[in-house]
Amino acid sequence: MDNIALKASGINKYFHDPVTMQVLRDINMEVHKGEFVSIIGKSGCGKSTLLYVLSTMDTDYEGTLTINGTNTTGLSLNQLAHLRNESIGFVFQFHYLLPDFTCLKNVMIPALRLGKYSYAEVEQRAYEKLKMFGVEDQALKKAGKLSGGQQQRVAIARALINDPAIIMGDEPTGNLDSKNTGIVFDLFRQLTVEYKQTLITVTHDEDFARRSDRIIEMADGQIRR
């Protein structure tokens, strides 16, 4: 049990608009600490929906979800926000950086929110993360001024700033060329091996999925294998 980062049992979810339709059917899954899991499946199979349920952002589901031994089902929105801040990092297909802030600030904001380290320490750590992704020379530029690949790397640095136990990606490499995809994949791999961080990504990229530890394939709202 100690080794389990995330456990979902009996997850069912319905969309009600325009007609009630079941999108997730009795999902049971476990992800171990340090595991690199890819979720694949055709468009509309519910893989993104599942990821958002696992991320605690979507609370409209049936079943139970346990993250790092904490039962998150039924927690208040503010408690969930704190949990996400501390234990979950997100990488989306689109970077969603705050364009008015510098890259450094973008990376720092979640850590400042958490308030675990002093301002100077947070700044120091943010620089290190940017360095990991080779974008430290862009640190003081406004996020809106960077190229797409650089923005995505800053976004990944931001996801890692609080050393989250779990990193979730919704097509994290969807907008990247093969070279950048390679860089990002290697970094993800490094995180799981060296820092025992857990990675759950939804991807369309067969090659990316094949190189991860485990593939969860979904179809029609169920886990195929």
Binding site: R84, E86, Y96, L114
Partner: protein, 414 residues
């Protein structure tokens, strides 16, 4: 730059949209400066009119009033305790004077709230010069005390009021009387009292209060002289005029004096009800104008924050995904409103002060009013700032709450 992260985000949003921020702050600024300007003008004019009314009327007037006959009087008169039924009671003619006026004055002088007190005899007279007759009233006063309380000296246009004590049989007349009877300082005037007494007096001074009904009828003479003109003895006093240190307590002190002396004590508020009514009407008009200005400023802020939230909805979603609670998001947007309020407020205070100062330099020159009366009253500035910031918080609250309710999943998934 080590602020709380919410504050830091709020500030960045404000500075990255400088024009919008300034427009919103300008709205608050105009609201606050108009608030200060209007309040200063209102208080200034009100104070001026109050002061004007005190140049003629005291804070409290103590006089003897005729009473309607009642059972109590009848019982005292008949000296028995039986119940009487009084039909068609009438006003009783009492002596118009006060009994033992100097005793009352001596007693009231001990009251610490009273700053000035002087007895007065008033009589209706007819002024005559040549063949022209003019009705009016003569006030018998101690001119030095009267001067201390009502600044008679400030109204003098010719002669000297101190001559009233130096020159025998002397009189100070209003400018209206002097003009109509063509009198100058040093001329003689015939004064005829109601009882037929006729006296010739010497004009030693002419005053102008700018209140026409006073200037056309009023004259001052020594109190003893007036007592003899109207044929009364030295203890005859028609009223006692009282000034207080704090005229706002006039009604309270008047009640006390009434209880002690048993005479009617009329405070200036009662004597000047139309003045007070004017103040109230003006207050309603000005406050509605100020309210509308602040409301418009509030809508400006509401609009701008609402637009910001629509623009930033994706960023709000991502902040929430990263662990910003609804409360933190509310705080970010509410702080923006507060910053706009403070910025507009500080500039508004300065502008309001300058505006007030400039207007107070406008020459009017009507009557005794030289410049527009403006007051510089610090509580107005504090009130303005408080109202300004409250308006911005109220205007910012609804958009901020909307932002806090953004559902990150629907926004991020599109």
């Amino acid at each position: 730059m080590k602020f709380n992260v919410n504050t830091e985000i709020a500030l960045t949003y404000l500075t990255s949209r400088k024009k919008q921020t300034l427009v919103a702050a300008a709205g608050v600024m105009f609201g606050i400066s108009m608030f200060i300007f209007m309040q200063s003008l209102m208080k200034g004019t009100n104070d001026y009119f109050e002061k004007m009314s005190f140049t003629n009327t005291p804070h409290i007037r103590l006089f003897s009033e005729n009473k309607v006959a009642d059972n109590h009087m009848l019982r005292t008169f008949l000296n028995d305790a039986s119940e009487k039924i009084l039909i068609n009671p009438k006003q009783l003619q009492q002596s118009q004077g006060l009994t033992n006026p100097y005793g009352i004055v001596a007693q009231l002088r001990r009251n610490k709230e009273i700053s000035g007190i002087t007895p007065q005899v008033t009589g209706n007279v007819i002024y005559t010069s040549g063949s022209v007759e003019l009705p009016g009233n003569i006030a018998g006063v101690d001119i030095e005390e009267e001067n201390l309380m009502f600044d008679v000296q400030g109204n003098m246009v010719a002669g000297s009021l101190h001559d009233l004590n130096r020159v025998q049989n002397s009189i100070l007349i209003g400018k209206g009387i002097a003009d109509k009877l063509s009198l100058h300082v040093g001329d003689n005037i015939t004064v005829r009292a109601g009882n037929g007494n006729l006296v010739i007096m010497r004009v030693v001074g002419i005053f102008a209060t700018t209140v026409r009904s006073v200037d056309d009828t009023k004259s001052y003479a020594n109190i003893a002289r007036v007592q003899s003109i109207i044929g009364k003895d030295r203890s005859y006093v028609t009223e006692i005029k009282i000034n207080l240190k704090d005229y706002n307590r006039a009604n309270i002190v008047a009640r006390e004096i009434e209880t002690i002396t048993g005479y009617k004590a009329e405070d200036w508020i009662k004597a000047n009800e139309q003045l007070k009514a004017g103040f109230k009407v003006r207050a309603v008009i000005l406050n509605s104008v100020i309210g509308v200005i602040l409301l418009v400023a509030g809508f400006g802020i509401y609009n701008i924050l609402n637009m910001t939230i629509y623009e930033k909805i994706k960023e709000i979603a991502i902040l929430k995904a990263q662990g910003f609670s609804g409360r933190a998001v509310t705080s970010i947007f509410l702080q923006q409103a507060v910053f706009i309020g403070i910025l507009g407020g500080i500039v508004g205070l300065t502008l309001g002060f300058s505006l007030t100062y400039m207007v107070s330099r406008i020459y009017i020159g009507a009557g005794s009013l030289k410049y527009l009366p403006m007051s510089f009253y610090i509580p107005h500035y504090l009130e303005a700032l408080m109202f300004g910031i409250l308006t911005t918080i109220a205007a910012g609250y609804f958009p901020a709450r909307k932002a806090s309710k953004v559902d990150p999943v629907t926004i991020i998934r599109g």
